[in-house]
């Protein structure tokens, strides 16, 4: 195994990670907890950069820290003193009761968590003792040339394990269908003032451009449909915060098509290949690059629409609900 000297930066990152996680989990103020969780996600992205995982670092910064945080903050904004954040007084009283009654329970659960951590450490120690298992990594690097892309992560996601990504997009589709079934969108935001509006005017086009760049570059460098979709969704979130009610989402039937685009394009390509006598999603090497880009473009739109609908909390309401938009931001 390649041993690596521990760098000062690694120590600082690890201390920040542990203290941010502990701070996010131990505070009783929900808003503070969400913001600390977002900071934790950003530091985690830096740590993954250190561990040579730039694809994952991009996704964590955009989705794990950015959009998860936006979702949680949007939920808090709607119900500041309800079940989500906990009404300040009763919860504190309830907590006091809990601490007096459930000390044994707390102790037991804490011990259980320590045991889980110890088990994980033991399992990892075993794994590290055996040294790196590179059979899969070798298989990937040997077949990479025929995959149509040169970024191994994209090759795994869109070619070698395309089934898994198809099912992942189906999970996303299920989640968004659940969200659409549960209710209408939250009320919108106030129209932006001049400063924010001028930021939106150039930031949103730049974000859309960046999404296209990430999608294209994913074939040979860090990037891909997930990072691009998240960036596109971030553009829509900015639009929504600036008072655009539908956040740039299409209406009606087009929206349904966009949501289903990822799974749909995957199935279309897979079934067409079956008809042509190839295995399901077994691309001919000559077409692989193009087919991957086609699927990724559709997947990017579907991922972005899903994340935006999650942020809205449901289908954008018809324009008649304008009176609901007079809420403070």
């Amino acid at each position: 195994m390649n041993t690596t000297a521990v760098h000062v930066l690694d120590i600082l990152l690890i201390i920040s990670l542990l203290s941010l996680a502990a701070a996010a989990l131990l505070t009783s103020d929900a808003r503070r907890s969400v913001i600390l969780f977002m900071a934790f996600g950003l530091v985690l992205a830096v740590a993954w950069g250190r561990l040579h995982a730039p694809d994952v670092a991009l996704a964590e910064a955009a989705i794990g820290a950015g959009l998860s945080g936006a979702l949680l903050l949007a939920a808090l904004r709607e119900q500041p003193r309800r079940a989500l954040s906990g009404d300040a007084k009763p919860v504190r009283e309830r907590e006091r009761e809990r601490t007096s009654i459930d000390v044994t329970l707390q102790l037991t659960v804490t011990l259980l968590c320590v045991a889980v951590a110890a088990l994980l450490v033991w399992a990892l120690a075993e794994a590290f003792d055996r040294g790196p298992q590179d059979t899969l990594a070798q298989a990937v690097s040997e077949t990479l040339a025929a995959s149509g892309v040169s970024n191994p992560v994209t090759a795994i996601l869109l070619n070698f394990r395309a089934y898994d990504t198809l099912l992942e997009l189906a999970v996303l589709l299920t989640a968004v269908l659940g969200i659409l079934a549960l209710g209408p969108a939250r009320p919108g935001y106030q129209a932006a003032g001049p400063v924010f509006d001028s930021l939106v005017r150039w930031l949103v086009p730049v974000l859309i451009l960046t999404a296209g760049y990430l999608l294209w570059v994913g074939a040979h460098a860090p990037g891909g449909a997930f990072q691009a979709g998240a960036t596109l969704a971030a553009a829509a979130v900015v639009l929504r915060l600036a008072g655009h009610r539908t956040a740039g989402l299409p209406a009606g039937q087009t929206l349904h098509l966009v949501i289903a685009a990822g799974v749909g394009m995957f199935l279309l390509v897979g079934l067409s290949l079956l008809v042509l006598g190839r295995p399901f999603l077994g691309y001919p090497p000559a077409w692989a690059g193009g087919l991957i880009l086609l699927i990724e473009s559709a997947a990017m739109l579907a991922i972005a629409a899903t994340l935006v609908l999650a942020f809205l909390g449901g289908r954008p309401q018809p324009a008649a609900g304008l009176s609901g938009e007079k809420r403070q931001c």
Binding site: A5, L18, G64, L72, Q79, V109, L112, L182, G183
Partner: protein, 95 residues
């Protein structure tokens, strides 16, 4: 054998335990949800640390693909939980 990789993996274990404790013990839904998310982040950190092969060497891309999938599934699950919670409080207010 003290390597950066090993330290990051241990940090992942600790973060999993911290998140699990909050997810099980906290009274407020939002904190529990953040606990589950932190726990997931700990698992991702372990996987990425295991995939690391030292400076200048290409890491194992398979765990990277797994984690990328995991991040997206985690955010969609979080979104669905928030939508369910919203509907639940709405029902309680009406009923």
């Amino acid at each position: 054998m003290l390597t950066a990789q090993w330290l990051y993996a241990m940090t992942g274990c600790l973060i999993v335990a911290l998140g699990l404790r909050t997810a099980l013990l906290h009274a407020v839904l939002l904190h529990r949800l953040i606990g589950v998310n932190v726990m997931g982040a700990g698992v991702f950190l372990m996987l990425i640390a295991v995939a690391y092969r030292g400076p200048g060497v290409a890491p194992d891309p398979v765990p990277h693909a797994l984690v990328l999938t995991g991040i997206v599934v985690a955010v969609s699950a979080t979104a669905l939980v928030l939508a369910l919670a919203r509907r639940l409080t709405g029902e309680q207010d009406n009923g």
